[in-house]
Amino acid sequence: MGSFDLSNAPIQRFAGVLVVTPPPDLTGEEWLFLRRAMLERYRSEGSKQVVVDLGRVDLIDTEACEQLRRMARSVRVLGGQCALAAVQAAVASALVDLEVDLDGVDAFLSTEEAIDALGGRRA
């Protein structure tokens, strides 16, 4: 996939929750763009909850793992909550094998479930 600009990054807002949907095969640079785009939307829209929907990601490398960790960490540093949703088996295995520190990041079977849970917490 080619680089995307911040305006068309795959980020949507549902029930006050930002949902980031990384496309498959993102490069490290594209992950960085996505993180920046997410933080920009987080700031401009005043959202406090972010769900990263990994349903389309079936493989993940060291760099992508690190970018994912930073994405979750930046939301927490800003006082928000970040959750993962629809993580596929191979990705979960890779995150464990690469010892990516995602402590404190909740995970949900589906994005809908994550939105319900995070939206509920906000309420």
Partner: protein, 312 residues
């Protein structure tokens, strides 16, 4: 895979070799019956004979097959059909479970029977016995290479198939309730097995969208740091998919070992018994378990009748 032409070149078989094999074959095949009689007389002295050839119906069939085998050998036509034929012979013997060594010794013995009288008798009259035996030897080596190659290949496939079956049998993952998996672990859990179990569990979690998985370790004889780390990794991975894991069946001895080894199991949800784990799992799924009539009003109940759960 090499072509018949390449194989001939590799084994240094030229037309003169094939001519010599054919020439001897035309004389010797008349004595095929006697050759087979002596071959089976020798086979009867081997420990494997009874098991593989003891059946009355098998023996005539093997006689016939060996007749075709030597017929093709003495025809001296090494083409793709010949190569495929030899590979099939190797595969068939691997499939019936004959040990490779026995297979090789049997063909070496059969070759000996053809050549032990080299230079003597009517069959050898006018032939260069040494050159003929050398040519037959080249062809026999080609045969052995083809048959043993196919034999080993088939055995490898069989072992891989058996491993897959064993893996499936050793990790029977059951969906015991909607979105609840039960994974009874039995036997030794080494790195390879742990990786296989993790793969199977995560795949199942994704398939049935499980919320809770119970890893029952009653059947694991030894829980040390390595096993505990494997279990921790499995639970971490399922958690990342949105599925909590409970490790059940910890015996007092295992609990003691874990404490003595200083294994950090703080992030593992553990229970002594499977029933405790089931109760915890069902509670997580929004069900209360109890005798009929004893479940709190309004709670989805498993007491006699199932109520509407969080997911149902």
């Amino acid at each position: 895979m090499e072509s018949a032409e390449q194989l001939r070149a590799m084994h240094g078989i030229d037309e003169a070799d094939l001519d010599r094999v054919r020439e001897y074959g035309q004389r010797a095949l008349g004595g095929l019956g006697e050759h087979l009689r002596r071959f089976f007389a020798w086979m009867e002295t081997t420990p494997e004979y009874e098991h593989f050839f003891g059946d009355e119906t098998t023996l005539p069939r093997v006689h016939e097959l060996l007749g075709s085998y030597w017929g093709a050998f003495f025809e001296g036509q090494i083409d793709e059909g010949y190569v495929a034929y030899r590979r099939t012979v190797g595969e068939v013997h691997a499939r019936i479970g004959l040990p490779l060594q026995v297979f090789q010794v049997a063909f070496a013995r059969a070759f000996d029977l053809w050549t032990e009288g080299a230079g003597q008798g009517a069959d050898w009259q006018g032939l260069d016995a040494a050159a003929t035996v050398r040519s037959m030897g080249k062809l026999m080596h080609l045969d052995m290479a083809l048959m043993s190659g196919a034999f080993v290949e088939r055995s490898g496939k069989t072992i891989a198939e058996q491993n897959r079956w064993l893996m499936a049998m050793s990790t029977p993952i059951s969906v015991v309730w909607e979105k609840l998996l039960l994974v009874p672990l039995v036997g030794v859990v080494d790195s390879k097995r742990a990786a296989d179990v993790r793969h199977a569990v995560l795949k199942k979690v994704g398939e049935v969208q499980a919320r809770v998985a119970i890893l029952d370790i009653r059947g694991i004889p030894l829980v040390d740091t390595a096993v505990a780390n494997h279990l921790i990794k499995i639970t971490k991975a399922t958690r990342l998919m949105g599925c909590e894991s409970i490790v059940s069946g910890l015996s007092p001895a295992v609990a003691e070992t874990i404490v003595e080894l200083g294994i950090d199991v703080e992030r593992l949800m553990t229970t002594a018994t499977l029933s405790d784990a089931l109760e915890t799992a069902l509670a997580r799924l929004g069900y209360a378990v109890g005798p009929v009539g004893a479940v709190a009003p309004g709670a989805p109940a498993l007491a006699g009748a199932r109520g509407a759960g969080r997911d149902g």
